[in-house]
Structure formats: structure tokens, C-alpha cells
């Protein structure tokens, strides 16, 4: 009999409501996060079928995707209609809502953890593919579509076929200046955009154990960018220290009981994964994407690839298309690519630690005159904390625009978009064609490389900047 289990298997088994023969497993959902874009049709479906929200107290809604990040009203009538719809739906169905202006709003994957709602051992879903972020706490968290949102609202469960499992072990000591963003971009570059399809991935190894919660969230966040259904990290003392005292976390004796339960979650030695991958990070450089998906990535000290170097005709065609779209010539050194815009934000890199690391680079310096740069904190709470620490003044003095919380230029549903042909160094998660605006060219980077690039006007390693006078 096999007794050793993975973290994933433990969570899966403890959330099985039913698993009838010939049907998918029915999984209980501990926390359902909702936002304005993928929920209106789900609430409408409930209304048409005269169904209610089964567990409003396990549901939390916020406004993030299409909210403007400047002060003032929502000018876009369609965006306003969608935000109003969320407000009306939450009121009608009894779902708690952290609305814009409440001081509690923010990107759904930033507020869940900061409120202490994201906890080890939980199942968490949201109508957003970056729900994998919450896996950083040792939760099973994944993105769903609107039909599934409706299903969870109505039943607090989801039918699921069992995924395959994979463990990605990061080995070696990453060199100075290499961040969590670089680790995950490099891993995606190696595995390809479909390398994780069908799998729940556990990220492990000493490198992961030494990361802060913010950095673990960055890694888990991008699981979907190589197709994985979810990404997770075993909970440990770093996790518990982050959670203790947060509003949604257990207290007193309940906290002690929770700790006992959480300490029993990690994968047993000898537990088996369907696939094991090792990524050696000892010689890793900061990463910059050059193409139109996150696997099209190169080290900052490398160069744009040549389509002729690809044997697979599909891959060659994809690289050719990408370089045409991105306006790049094969062989161009990454460090010689200049940018027009810099965006620091998104559910990947908009937490306090991300803002601190970027501010540390730009303190006392000015951005390049050609560059327009934007910082969008992940939540109202991150914004407040950054302002208490004086980070807003550092960004403003350097020439950055300091904005209100939201998804902003990660997907450009609000007015923060690139113009056609503009090139952007972005701390977000997707460099798809038109992602930040039709014709816009996105390069994914870490917050420190984004900050350094804003100063130099081209991609540059922070260590290569001139010292502050």
C-alpha cells in the first residue's frame, strides 16, 4: 500500500465531496474570489434559473480589471456598467464586495493573501487564470471560466478530473540580482508555453524555501504561462509568519490547531510525481522576453534569436511572426533594445516587496527622458504601506507616475494602454500580441530590471547603472 502523499494529493482528497463511478470528482471550494469581468454572466445565469449563492460567506468580490488608476470617476460607460453590475449582483446575492474607493480594493490575487484569506490546505478558485498565485501558501488554487464561476456560486463545488502532478526543483544558488521573476521566466523558457498543461506543479528546492511569500507568489502566479493548472509551494515557517495576525487568519487556539494541520500538509519524502523537473539556477541571468509568449525569453546579456536556428518548422514560423510583431532583428543584443514605456504592477509583481526592490534601484535617479513610467500598487493596502514608507515620493522624484490600485496595464482593460508600436518593459505576466494595447510590444521583466530600464532607456542589469552622484 502506498502511504506517502504529495501536498496536492492531501488537499484533493480532503476536498472530495463525491466521486461517483463514471463521473468527475466533485471538489469542495473553500474560497471563491470574484471580480467584475468574468462574473456578470454567471450571476445572470443564477437569476435565470432562480438559484442563489450557496455560501456568500466563502465568496469575496473586488473591482480590479477595468478600474481606472487615476483619481476621479469611471469615464468609460462600458466599464462603469460592468462595475455597477458587480455592485448590484453582490447586493442582490449577499456577496461581500471590496469596491473601488473602499480602501480595501485591489487585484484579486493581491488582496486574498494580504487579508489572510489565502491559507495552506485550502481550495481556492476565481474566474481568472492567475489564481494559481494563491498556491504559494500551499493551497490548491486555479482559474476557472464563467460557467464554472456560476457553478461554484450555486453549489460551492466543482466537477474536476484528476490532474497529473509535476515537481519542479530549483537547484543551485541564483547569482546576485536574479529574482523570482527570473527563476520562473527561465523555467518557462525551458519547458515551453505548453510544458505544464494538464499538471498541478509543486515548486520545491532550497531556492524556493528561501524565498519570501511575495516571491513565491510571483512564481506560482506564472504557472498558467506554461499551461499548468495550478502551482504550489509547501507551507513552512515563512508562510505561517506571513499569515499570523492577518484579518482573515485564525486566532488564538484556532491558530494553534491550524498550524498543526498545516505542518502535516507538505509532500512526504518518497511521494511520487508523474513528472520531475530540475532547473539549475546557479548561472542564471535576469530574463527578458523578446517574443509574443512568455516562453520566448532570453538572458539580459543574451540576444534576440534567429529563426534560422530552429529546426521545427512550426517553431520557426512562430519565431518569425513574433519578431515581425515585436519589430526586432535576429541577433540584436537584448541590452541594445530601447523602450518607450515601463510598467511596474500586476498580480505578478505589485506587492510591497516588488515596489521596495524597484524603489531601491531608482532612489536618487531620474528616468530616461523618452520613457513614460507607471507604478500601480496591487491593492489599496499596498499603496498605503508604500506611501508610509515614502516609496511614492521616490518614484515620483524619479519621474514615475504613482497610481491607484488595479490590474491596469497588465491587460489594458482600463485607460492604461500602449499605443501601436510602443515598446514596454513590464513586470506583468503576458507578452501576447496586443496584450497591453493593439500593436503594443511587451517585454516581461522583473521589477528591478524594469526600474533600471526606466532609468537607462534600454534593457540593463541594475548592477550596470552608473552610481548615484
Amino acid at each position: 500500500m502506498r502511504t506517502s502523499k504529495t501536498l496536492f494529493e492531501r488537499i484533493w482528497e480532503s476536498h472530495l465531496v463525491a466521486h461517483p463511478d463514471g463521473e468527475p470528482a466533485l471538489l469542495y471550494v473553500d474560497l471563491h474570489l470574484v471580480h467584475e469581468v468574468t462574473s456578470p454572466q454567471a450571476f445572470e445565469g443564477l437569476r435565470l434559473a432562480s438559484r442563489r449563492v450557496r455560501r456568500p460567506e466563502l465568496t469575496l468580490a473586488t473591482m480590479d480589471h477595468n478600474v481606472p488608476t487615476t483619481e476621479g470617476p469611471v469615464d468609460d460607460p462600458l466599464a462603469r456598467q460592468q462595475l455597477d453590475a458587480l455592485r448590484d449582483n453582490c447586493a442582490a446575492f449577499g456577496v461581500p464586495l471590496f469596491a473601488t474607493g473602499s480602501g480595501r480594493e485591489g487585484i484579486v490575487h493581491v488582496i486574498g493573501p494580504e487579508l489572510g484569506l489565502t491559507q495552506p490546505g485550502m481550495t481556492i478558485v476565481c474566474g481568472d487564470s492567475h489564481t494559481s498565485t494563491h498556491g504559494a501558501f500551499g493551497a490548491l488554487a486555479f482559474g476557472i471560466g464563467t460557467s464554472e464561476v456560476e457553478h461554484v456560486l450555486a453549489t460551492q463545488t466543482l466537477p474536476q478530473s484528476p490532474p497529473r502532478t509535476m515537481r519542479v526543483v530549483f537547484e543551485g544558488d541564483p547569482p546576485e540580482g536574479v529574482s523570482a521573476k527570473d527563476l520562473i521566466l527561465a523555467a518557462i523558457g525551458e519547458a515551453g508555453v505548453a510544458g505544464g498543461v494538464g499538471h498541478v506543479v509543486e515548486y520545491a528546492g532550497r531556492v524556493i524555501e528561501q524565498l519570501s511569500m511575495e516571491n513565491r507568489m510571483t512564481i506560482c502566479n506564472m504557472s498558467i504561462e506554461w499551461g499548468a493548472r495550478a502551482g504550489m509551494v509547501a507551507p513552512d515557517d515563512t508562510t505561517f509568519a506571513y499569515l499570523e495576525g492577518r484579518a482573515g487568519a485564525p486566532r488564538g487556539r484556532a491558530w494553534e490547531r491550524a498550524l498543526d494541520e498545516w505542518r502535516a500538509l507538505p509532500t512526504d519524502a518518497g511521494a511520487r510525481f508523474d513528472q520531475e523537473v530540475v532547473v539549475d539556477v546557479s548561472a542564471l541571468a535576469p530574463q527578458v522576453t523578446w517574443g509574443t509568449n512568455p516562453a520566448m525569453v532570453a538572458p539580459l546579456d543574451g540576444s534576440v534569436p534567429d529563426p534560422a536556428d530552429y529546426d521545427d518548422p512550426d517553431q520557426r514560423a512562430a519565431v518569425e511572426r513574433a519578431l515581425t510583431y515585436m519589430g526586432l532583428d535576429p541577433g540584436t543584443p537584448i541590452g541594445e533594445i530601447s523602450v518607450d514605456r515601463v510598467f511596474i504592477g500586476s498580480c505578478t509583481n505589485s506587492r510591497i516587496e516588488d515596489l521596495r526592490s524597484a524603489a531601491a534601484i531608482i532612489a536618487g535617479r531620474r528616468i530616461h527622458p523618452r520613457v513614460r513610467a507607471l507604478v500601480v500598487p496591487g491593492s489599496a493596502s499596498v499603496k498605503r504601506q508604500a506611501e508610509e514608507e515614502g516609496l511614492d515620493r521616490i518614484f515620483a522624484a524619479a519621474g514615475f507616475e504613482w497610481r491607484r490600485a488595479g490590474c491596469s496595464m497588465c491587460l489594458g482593460m482600463n485607460p492604461d494602454i500602449l499605443q501601436a508600436g510602443e515598446r514596454c518593459a513590464s513586470t506583468s505576466n503576458r507578452n501576447f500580441e496586443g496584450r497591453q494595447g493593439a500593436g503594443g510590444r511587451t517585454h516581461l521583466v522583473s521589477p528591478t530590471v524594469a526600474a533600471a530600464t526606466a532609468l537607462a532607456g534600454h534593457f540593463v542589469h541594475p548592477q550596470e547603472l552608473e552610481p548615484v552622484a
Binding site: R51, I224, A318
Partner: protein, 195 residues
């Protein structure tokens, strides 16, 4: 959801790999609160190019899309599946799909059919000549002109659900006693209402 009937139709070819849902339906159309009307925005930015593959006359009226690996990767937006269905597609055939897109498609009765890449390469030639194909979900077979019948796989439960046009939520609500029992045995881990 309406029942999935046997479909015989022209097949459009989009010979690209890793087509993400941002291309299928760009973000500016996600602000709508309706579930219908996305078809005219399908592949919005690509469709601006007069040379875009799907504009070819032999693909007019196509109800089956034949495309490259990892179709529908990226964002969870169900709008991508809605847009394809609204534009008249009943099925998408590809070597592989993004997981969330595949689930979304099944939920609304847009059939994702996975076939080996080499098989798809051959089918693309047939479709490029304007040939019709038949997808028989009952028999789990694809029928192309001058080709042996091509079997495909789909989970038996999903097949029944599509053929019967069954409501997923109603199916789950048959398990209401089990859900209630689970809730009784497992206290809530969080209380969003008390925050």
C-alpha cells in the same frame, strides 16, 4: 445548453500554434455583460488584415476550426469560447488545448477535438481545398473526404453531457445531500462576511 448534434460542415484552417485567448477575443470586448454577440469580434486584431487566413472564401460558413497545438492558452476568459460559438463554430480540432479554454468549451457545447499533429497536417490540406467534414460525437469519429474514419477520444461523462445538452449545475445539485454532509463535517475555513 443545447444538444450537440452531428455536424457536417466546411472546415476553416488557422495554421498557428499557441493561439492565446487574447487573440481569440481581445480585452476591450470583455467589458460587455452579455453572454452573446461576441462573434463579430472573433480574432479582432488579426481579422483587420485582409490576408488573414480565415477570410479565405473556401472557409466561408465554416463550422469547424482546424488549428495548431495549445489552442486557447492564456487567460480564462470564457468569452473566447463564446466568440467562436457565436461566430458559428461547433467544434475546434487541434493537437492540444489550453486547459481552461478546453473546460470552458465543454461547458457551453463547443466541442474540442484533440488529434495527433500529423493527422491534423493531412486534414489541413483537405480543408484548404474547401472539403467538408463530419464530426459524429455519438460515434466519436471524424469523417473527412477520401480518408478512413478518424476516431477521437472524449471522456464518457462529457460525451453524454454534450449529447444530452445537460445542465452541469443541475447534475451537481443531485449531489446536494453529499455537499450538505461535507459542509457539516468541515467547518468553513474563512468568513469573508466578517472582514
Amino acid at each position: 445548453m443545447k444538444r450537440f448534434e452531428k455536424v457536417t460542415a466546411r472546415v476553416a484552417v488557422l495554421d498557428r500554434a499557441d493561439v492565446d485567448t487574447d487573440q481569440i477575443i481581445p480585452k476591450q470586448f470583455l467589458k460587455r455583460i452579455e453572454r452573446t454577440g461576441y462573434g463579430e469580434f472573433l480574432f479582432f486584431d488579426w481579422a483587420k488584415d485582409p490576408g488573414f487566413e480565415l477570410h479565405r472564401p473556401q472557409f466561408a460558413g465554416a463550422r469547424i476550426l482546424l488549428t495548431g497545438r495549445n489552442f486557447g492558452c492564456g487567460s480564462s476568459r470564457e468569452h473566447a469560447a463564446w466568440a467562436l460559438q457565436d461566430a458559428g463554430y461547433d467544434a475546434v480540432i487541434a493537437p492540444s488545448f489550453g486547459d481552461i479554454f478546453r473546460t470552458n468549451s465543454l461547458k457551453i457545447g463547443l466541442l474540442p477535438v484533440a488529434l495527433p499533429a500529423a493527422e491534423i497536417r493531412v486534414l489541413m490540406e483537405v480543408a484548404n481545398d474547401g472539403g467538408e467534414m463530419t464530426i459524429d460525437l455519438e460515434a466519436l469519429e471524424l469523417i473527412a473526404p477520401d480518408r478512413p474514419r478518424i476516431p477521437f477520444q472524449l471522456d464518457a461523462f462529457e460525451r453524454e453531457r454534450l449529447l444530452g445538452g445537460l445542465d452541469d449545475i443541475a447534475l451537481t445539485l443531485r449531489r446536494d445531500p453529499e455537499i450538505t454532509a461535507y459542509e457539516a463535517a468541515h467547518p468553513a475555513r474563512v468568513a469573508t462576511i466578517s472582514l
